[in-house]
Symmetry: C2
Subunit: 323 residues, 2 copies
């Protein structure tokens, strides 16, 4: 995908903070019509943004919590963006807008940008779209970029890996979820939140989480995973949650030379590289290069591994995937 | 990964139908210790196997149905393999053995091989492991290879794309599931099964499915998607299900020059190619090549897209990923 004058203009407007240019360019990402690596030079160089991931079981009240956090972030006068995904549903495109209604009283605030993401058939899947959209928001000057997702499957993990800080939101009733997912939770969580903490069992959940943290082998470079109690209805504890997020961001900033920081960056690089090559492979295989291989493909007794071996010796194929 | 004498011996034994060699080599695939493309020459050339995918919501009774199908397949004197996965749980490795107990009375039958697959941290994920394991089973002489998975998320779709024939198993109560997933279901299903058909509402489910099939745009090259009513408790309808599967296999065999067949093969090729390159990228980035890039990675203001661009110009990096 080349970059034309119209795209250039769009990105220019986006960098000036134009909200409709941002919305339009995210749509282009969703539709696979804009390749962020082709505009990398254009979007680079803006101030650092922080990506804050929120995940947890359905019904944990993430949207209400995020609503409160937006308030705290706006009080510190920073621009806030929210990218919400529901990757459990690849077919609906995952964009469940209804749930975002709770955040809608920020809709009149020009400094708050809320967007539900779907994949709309674009290559690379929803985690790629989320990451690319977050880079566009960074270029548009958003300081805090909140990534919201539901569940802790592979796709959700991929999305949470984009975040600098990951908050796992639970409720007192999430015992089973924690039991089933504990290895995965300990892998991604930087902060645990027990929401709806006015309900019975919240103390018990707090203790289980503390026990889990103490007995786990998860090393986060001296970061002790905190547990914050909140109530999304009246906002109790959400100021502490915001302070805890800021504390983790400070921690990251003073530890850029650590193993953890490098690991995150390497992970991101691997993902981007493998997504880009996958897209190129898809294009190359869909393209006309395959003429010589069609008869082999039509023969079911020739394994795809054999065909791939031949393709990897084929100069014109390699040129296409390394474009 | 080179291929040593021990691996050669293992694959030789596997090709003679040695069950423990098959089990051992699948474990090596799960652990990422065996790269099937490196033994492609060894396993190639055995008779054609058929991969039959079973998916649907949890509790639809897939395991009992598969149990009956194994009986019918064994009556036709063919070797049967089952690969079961639960990809919704990336952390437990997805290997829920308890559910397979219903199939256990086949455990004494040497011609039936049942295996729960987990990823155990191997690269490429569970769909790669499932596909590679199915190629090993093909080399070992299994004619029918049943792939069982739960749900219809992206990973399950990837697994079902490996199958020649996909049966979606529903129960009379699956109305909501069908409504939510209908686009995805119509994309993958070659056969619909309404199991527990003695229950109330099965007629209604049958009619909804027929309506869905009639009104859908899914073109399957003249294949009319059938709906089969079954009862996993007493086996009612499972003989018809088996005949329907055979009919679809016949259909595929007489349509190898169709768009559909080619599309499946191209899809498989793309997946294998992108998985292999992803693995190579991971190895290359984890390896020592990255020395020059570490300082860039440690600088958070340099975007990963920029670093990737430089890597893609780097000959020693390219050599590693195209090895």
């Amino acid at each position: 995908m080349g970059i034309d004058d119209r795209t250039k203009k769009l990105i220019d407007k986006l960098k000036q903070g134009d909200v409709s240019a941002l919305a339009r360019s995210i749509t282009l990402i969703e539709e696979g019509e804009l390749d962020i690596s082709s505009i990398e030079d254009l979007i680079n160089g803006k101030g650092k943004s922080y990506r804050i991931g929120f995940t947890g079981p359905p019904g944990a009240g993430k949207s209400s919590l995020i609503d409160w956090l937006i308030k705290h972030m706006r009080n510190s006068n920073e621009m806030v963006g929210v990218l919400a995904t529901d990757p459990s549903s690849p077919f609906t495109g995952g964009a469940i807008l209804g749930d975002r209604i709770r955040m809608q009283h920020h809709f009149l605030d020009q400094q708050v940008f809320i967007r539900s993401l779907g994949s709309r058939g674009a290559k690379g899947g929803i985690s790629r779209i989320t990451r690319d959209a977050s880079y566009l928001m960074q270029a548009a000057g958003y300081k805090f970029i909140i990534l919201e997702t539901v569940g802790v499957g592979q796709t959700e993990l991929d999305i949470m890996n984009i975040a600098d800080t990951v908050a796992v939101v639970l409720v007192p009733e999430s015992g089973d979820f924690v039991q089933t997912m504990k290895a995965g939770l300990m892998e991604i969580a930087n902060i645990f939140v027990v929401n709806k903490a006015d309900r019975e069992g919240s103390k018990q959940m707090l203790n289980s989480l503390k026990f889990l943290i103490e007995t786990s082998n998860a090393v986060q470079d001296m970061w002790q995973i905190p547990v914050v109690l909140t109530n999304g209805l009246d906002g109790t504890g959400t100021d502490e949650l915001f302070r805890t997020i800021l504390r983790h961001i400070d921690f990251l900033n003073s530890h850029t030379d650590t193993e953890l920081f490098l690991r995150k960056r390497l992970h991101e690089l691997k993902q981007i590289a493998s997504e880009q090559l996958s897209t190129n492979i898809e294009d190359a295989i869909n393209g006309s290069t395959m003429g010589d291989y069609i008869s082999k493909l039509k023969n079911p007794s020739i394994s795809p591994y054999k065909i791939l071996k031949q393709l990897m010796q084929d100069k014109s194929f390699l040129e296409k995937i390394l474009k």
